[in-house]
Amino acid sequence: MELLRVDSISKSFGGVEAVKEFSMVQADAEITAIIGPNGAGKTTTFNLVSGVQSVDRGYVTFLGADITRMPPHRIQALGVSRTFQNIRLFDGLSVLDNVKISDASRLGYNMFDELLSSPRVRRREKEIQERAVAQLAFLGLDRYAGDKPSSLSYGLRRRLELARALMPEPKLLLLDEPAAGLNASEIRELMDTIQQIQLEKKISVIIVEHHMELVMNLCSTIHVMDFGRKIAAGTPREVRADAKVLEAYLGDMEEVC
C-alpha cells in the first residue's frame, strides 16, 4: 500500500535550489534510503516532508491526504516521525520525559483535566509511562530513565532520539543519518534495530545515510540525490552499477562498492 507520495517538490534558499523536483513513493513497511554527497539536499527533503520547512513547489501526500502546507505537529499526529542529523534532545527533561513528550498530539486531555488530576488523566499518564518505559527497554535505555540526556554517551543519545521518534507509534519513520558517529558494533546494533522496527512494528522507514554498508544491506530501494536533483533510483544492485551515481561519488568509489 502506498504510504507517502512526494511529487516533484522544490525548495530554494535565496538563489540556491536545495531541492529540485524531487519525487518518490514510499510503501508500507519498507525500508528505503536517500543517499548522495554532502549538500545534495537530503536533509532538506526530510525537512520538507516533515513540515519543518515549507515546500516552494510540488506536493506531499501521506495516506492520501495532502500534507504539503501542514504544520509539523499535525504531520506528526498523522503518523510521520523523525530523528535529526545533529541530535536534538530536550536537555531540561529526563531521558524518560524526552520519550513521553512525543505523545503530545495524542494526549486527549487538557490542562484543566490535569490540574484536577481526573481519573482519565491518571489512566492516560500511566499508559504513557508504561509505553515510554517499553520504548526505552526496546532500545536498551531503561537503565537511564531518570538521567539527563546530556549525561549519556553519543551513541546512547542517538538511540534515545530513536526511542523518542518511535514513541508515537508512527507509520513512517524518517532517520537522518542515524549511523553518524557510531562505531562498527553500534552500527550493527542499529541495523538490527531498524530491521526489527520494520518487521515487528511494521513501520516504514526512510534513511538518509552516508554509511553504505547499512544502506546496501537494509534498503529495498535507494534514491540518489546530487545538487538537489534525483539522479538515480533503484535496488542497491542497480544503483551500484549506475554510471551517474559513480560519477557523483567519484573519489568515494570504495564507499559505494
Binding site: P72, L93, E114, L115
Partner: protein, 289 residues
C-alpha cells in the same frame, strides 16, 4: 509585629509575581519585559472598580483576571508567533504603552498623581492562601504533560514541533495563564497598598522578576521562590541597607552565571518525600542517642 506582617504581605505578593513569570520565563523560556503591565492592569482594574464605580471587591478581583486575560490575548496572539527576541521587544513596548495610557487618561485614573482610597481588603490570610494555591498550581503544572511540553519548547522549539507539539498554541496558553496570575496578584497588590500609581511596576521591575528566576534556577520552583522571598524581604527588613539590595543581587547574578549557570538550586525541588526522608534520617539518630 505589624511591620513584619506588612513585610510578609509584600514579600508574598511579589512571590506571586515571580511564580507567574516562572511559568513563562523559567519553564517556557519566553522573556517578557512587560509583565509588570499585567500587574498594573490588575491593580488598576481593582482600583478603578472599587473607587470610581463602587463595585464589590470580590467582583473587581475576578474582573482583574478577566481584563488581564483579555490583554494577554491581544498581546499574545500576534506576538507569540514571532521569534523570542521580538517577543521581548513587543512586551517591553506593551508595558510602556500601558503606563503611558494610565498617565494620559488622568481624569479617570488620576494619572501621575496615582489612585488613592482603595479599600484595604487583602490582608495576610488572603494573600497567604493565594500564594500557597498558586504555588501548588505552578509546582504541579511543572510535573504534568503541560510542564514537560513547556520545557521541550524552551530547550528546542523545532524538535518540539517535530514531536507533535503545537508550539504556538502552547505558548499562548502559558502566556495567558501567566497573565491571569499576574493580574490577580496585581489586584491583590492594589487592595493591600490602597494607593497605586502608573509607575507601580515598570519594566525594570519586570526584568528583576526574570533575574530572580535565573538566580534561583530555571528548573526549580523552590529556588525561584526562595530567591524571591530573600530579595523582597531583605529590602524591607534591612532598611538601612536598602540601596545595597540591587548591588547584592547584581553581584549574585554575576557569581551565579559564572559559577553555577543552572541557578542556586539547580533542578532541586522541596517536596513532601524529601521532608519525610529527612525526618527518617533524623529519627534513628535520636533513638540511637
Amino acid at each position: 509585629m505589624a511591620f513584619y506582617t506588612a513585610v510578609l504581605e509584600t514579600t508574598l505578593l511579589f512571590s506571586i509575581f515571580v511564580l507567574s513569570v516562572y511559568m513563562l520565563s523559567g519553564l517556557t523560556g519566553l522573556f517578557s519585559l512587560g509583565h509588570g503591565a499585567f500587574i498594573t492592569i490588575g491593580a488598576y482594574t481593582v482600583g478603578l472598580g472599587t473607587t470610581r464605580f463602587g463595585l464589590p471587591i470580590w467582583f473587581c478581583v475576578i474582573l482583574s483576571v478577566v481584563v488581564g486575560l483579555f490583554a494577554g490575548l491581544v498581546i499574545g496572539l500576534p506576538t507569540l508567533k514571532l521569534r523570542r527576541d521580538y517577543f521581548l521587544l513587543v512586551t517591553f513596548m506593551f508595558g510602556e504603552m500601558v503606563r503611558a495610557l494610565l498617565l494620559w487618561t488622568a481624569q479617570l485614573t488620576g494619572g501621575a498623581m496615582g489612585l488613592a482610597g482603595i479599600p484595604y481588603a487583602a490582608e495576610l490570610p488572603v494573600i497567604g492562601v493565594s500564594t500557597i494555591v498558586i504555588l501548588v498550581f505552578v509546582a504541579n503544572l511543572k510535573k504534568t504533560a503541560f510542564g514537560r511540553t513547556c520545557i521541550a519548547i524552551r530547550d528546542d522549539e523545532l524538535a518540539a514541533q517535530a514531536m507533535g507539539v503545537n508550539v504556538y498554541w502552547h505558548k499562548v496558553k502559558v502566556f495567558l495563564l501567566s497573565a491571569a496570575i499576574a493580574s490577580y496578584g496585581g489586584g491583590l497588590l492594589a487592595l493591600n497598598m490602597t494607593f497605586i500609581e502608573p509607575n507601580l511596576f515598570n519594566w525594570l521591575e519586570s526584568a528583576k522578576l526574570i533575574v530572580i528566576i535565573f538566580v534561583g534556577g530555571i528548573n526549580s520552583v523552590t529556588g525561584s521562590l526562595f530567591t524571591a522571598i530573600l530579595y523582597y524581604s531583605f529590602g524591607e527588613v534591612f532598611r538601612f541597607a536598602h540601596v545595597w539590595r540591587d548591588v547584592i543581587l547584581g553581584v549574585l547574578v554575576i557569581l551565579v552565571i559564572v559559577f553555577r549557570s543552572q541557578g542556586l538550586f539547580g533542578a532541586w525541588e522541596l517536596s513532601l518525600t524529601w521532608i519525610s526522608s529527612l525526618f527518617r534520617k533524623i529519627r534513628p539518630a535520636k533513638s540511637g542517642g
